[in-house]
């Protein structure tokens, strides 16, 4: 058995850390817009703060990905699956960077002050505009559902590689506490 390559430790750390953050964000987002309870306020506050954090982590992750690349996919993986894997990852990176920017833009266009972590103020990146607010809000809202669907697809595919194909793909990203190489 030839040693498999895997993602670097920093890539794996970012993946799992951001997976938790992103899934939390999707649930917080869909939950906060469906409640009028007092928890509405801390949910929104966490959503904004975490959103900016994810943006920063995603940009770091993108740089890391461009620098280190990714391990190759198995040689016997059918081409449609390879294409699906690659395009879904492009889509995930795009969404994890675009969504916080859409949120920031939407709040700016709505003339809302933008505060994160209880005191850090972010500047408005757009002037108040009904049209922009509407467009950005709609994009943020609908892309969130697309994002969740993509996450489910990603998880299903990951489990498929891990449990059915058993082709080492999952192991390239799996966290490990001891170095196996």
């Amino acid at each position: 058995m030839i040693a498999i390559s895997r993602f670097t430790a920093i890539q794996r750390l970012l993946h799992w850390l951001m997976a938790i953050c992103l899934i939390a964000m999707l649930f917080i987002g869909v939950g906060m817009v469906s409640t009028v309870m007092p928890k509405y306020l801390p949910l929104v506050a966490v959503h904004k703060s975490l959103g900016v954090t994810i943006l920063l982590l995603a940009l770091i992750r993108l740089v890391v990905r461009l620098y280190y690349g990714a391990p190759p996919l198995p040689v016997d993986l059918p081409v449609p699956m390879k294409l699906a894997a690659q395009s879904s990852h492009y889509a995930l990176y795009t969404l994890m960077i675009a969504m916080p920017l859409l949120g920031w833009g939407m709040l700016s266009a709505g003339a809302y002050p933008i505060e994160i972590y209880g005191g850090i103020r972010l500047p408005a990146v757009l002037h108040q505009s009904d049209a922009l607010h509407t467009a950005l809000w709609d994009a943020h809202f609908y892309l969130a559902f697309a994002f969740f669907a993509l996450v489910l697809l990603h998880v299903a595919a990951a489990l498929f590689h891990a449990l059915v194909r058993r082709d080492g793909v999952f192991e390239t990203i799996a966290p490990s506490l001891t170095s196996r190489h």
């Binding site: 906060m32 817009v33 280190y68 690349g69 190759p72 709505g110 509407t134 299903a156 489990l159 058993r166």
Partner: protein
């Protein structure tokens, strides 16, 4: 793209000898696991979104209950839909610095933007028919913070909880003659509001109205101590009672016309901002309960209204007077209403900004 990898086959790809094909049972188990994870996640997501909880009070439901029988006024706020903008100053006298470290209370002048409005979801309501009048207000400070508040003129709120407010709206909109009596029986605090509505004098001008926060908030002073407060804007223009019958003779938009004329001819209008501090044990979480007389009360400054502008092209139109937009030194208390209002106002703002073409601005800026 450089790949960081351990020794591999010469063509850069790797292969490993895979275990023999999965048994059918293994395959089925795996697929069931995948289905359970994906399906379970989707169900959890749907539950969080409220799709599985028909009884949850959502901002959607509140807005639906607020909609007038004739339908919403597109492009307008979903409540307090009829209003007029003002700009001016808040002159803080420094007295409240002992209660709150917010910059807005340090002696000085701060730009103020606001909106006089009627407590109705119908943007075409006749002024003499709407009992509750309100004021939205935003004060901006040099440190970049904003204090937004939305106040109304009753001395206390009709109900104790957001759920009760929803029930009130449903009862008011119901064709069932038992709806209101049933509601009042379940929410006896409403009787006090009904009495106020029936007996309190009406005035002929926004200038003569009190505007009250009703909801309590927490002021934190520079030593870190918290104080539960409510605030009011007390008019410096003496209120002159006028019967609603007489008001009806003044035309459907008399309030907006009157305030515009008054400011133009007599100059700025003033309100004294008074902050009342709760004693321990006072009902801070229930805006339907006024606090007893004699509570510590501090005059913290003066709101000066200098200019009136019609809403259509005015500066207040696209501001959401969300009462939870607060500077450091002010935060929400255990009163459940600010959060509920923030949630509902958020949705109202999203809807009305999407409907801007139904409430077009006039290009020249001159009111139609």
């Amino acid at each position: 793209m450089e790949s960081h990898q351990r020794p591999s086959t010469s063509n850069g790809e790797f292969s490993m000898s895979r275990p023999t094909r999965l048994s059918t049972r293994s395959l089925l188990t795996s697929l069931v696991v995948i289905g359970a994870v994906v399906g379970g996640s989707a169900v959890a997501f749907g539950y969080t979104a409220g799709w599985l909880s028909p009884r949850r009070l959502t901002p959607d439901k509140l807005l639906e209950a607020l909609a007038p029988p004739t339908g919403v006024s597109p492009g307008h706020r979903r409540n307090h839909a009829k209003g007029i903008c003002f700009t001016g100053l808040f002159e803080a006298n420094g007295n409240d610095s002992v209660l709150s470290r917010a910059e807005v209370f340090r002696a000085g002048h701060y730009p103020a933007l606001g909106r006089f409005n009627l407590g109705t979801a119908n943007a075409n309501a006749t002024d003499a028919t709407v009992r509750v009048r309100g004021m939205g207000l935003r004060i901006s400070t040099p440190d970049g913070e904003e204090w937004r508040t939305a106040m109304i003129d009753p001395p206390f709120f009709p109900v104790s909880t957001p759920r009760a407010f929803y029930d009130l709206l449903r009862a008011l909109g119901s064709k069932n003659p038992d709806a209101m009596p049933t509601f009042i029986h379940a929410n006896p605090e409403f009787a006090a509001f009904a009495a106020w509505a029936k007996t309190a004098p009406w005035t002929g001008s926004y200038a003569e109205e009190h505007f009250n926060s009703l909801n309590s908030f927490i002021f934190t002073d520079s030593s870190g101590a918290d104080h539960a407060v409510r605030w009011s804007l007390v008019p410096q223009t003496a209120p002159v009672p006028v019967s609603p019958e007489d008001l009806a003779k003044r035309g459907p938009d008399f309030l907006e016309n009157e305030i515009t004329d008054r400011v133009r001819s007599s100059g700025p209008l003033r309100w004294t901002m008074t902050v009342t501090v709760a004693d321990p044990g006072d009902p801070t979480s229930d805006p339907s309960k006024a606090w007893p007389e004699g509570r510590r009360s501090v005059e913290v400054g003066t709101l000066v209204v200098q200019q009136i502008e019609a809403e259509r092209d005015g500066p207040c139109r696209d501001i959401n007077f969300d009462p939870t937009v607060l500077p450091a030194g002010i935060r929400t208390s255990d009163d459940p209403f600010p959060a509920a209002r923030s949630s509902a106002y958020r949705e109202s703002y999203d809807l009305r900004t999407a409907e801007a073409k139904d409430y077009p601005r006039t290009k020249s800026g001159v009111a139609p």
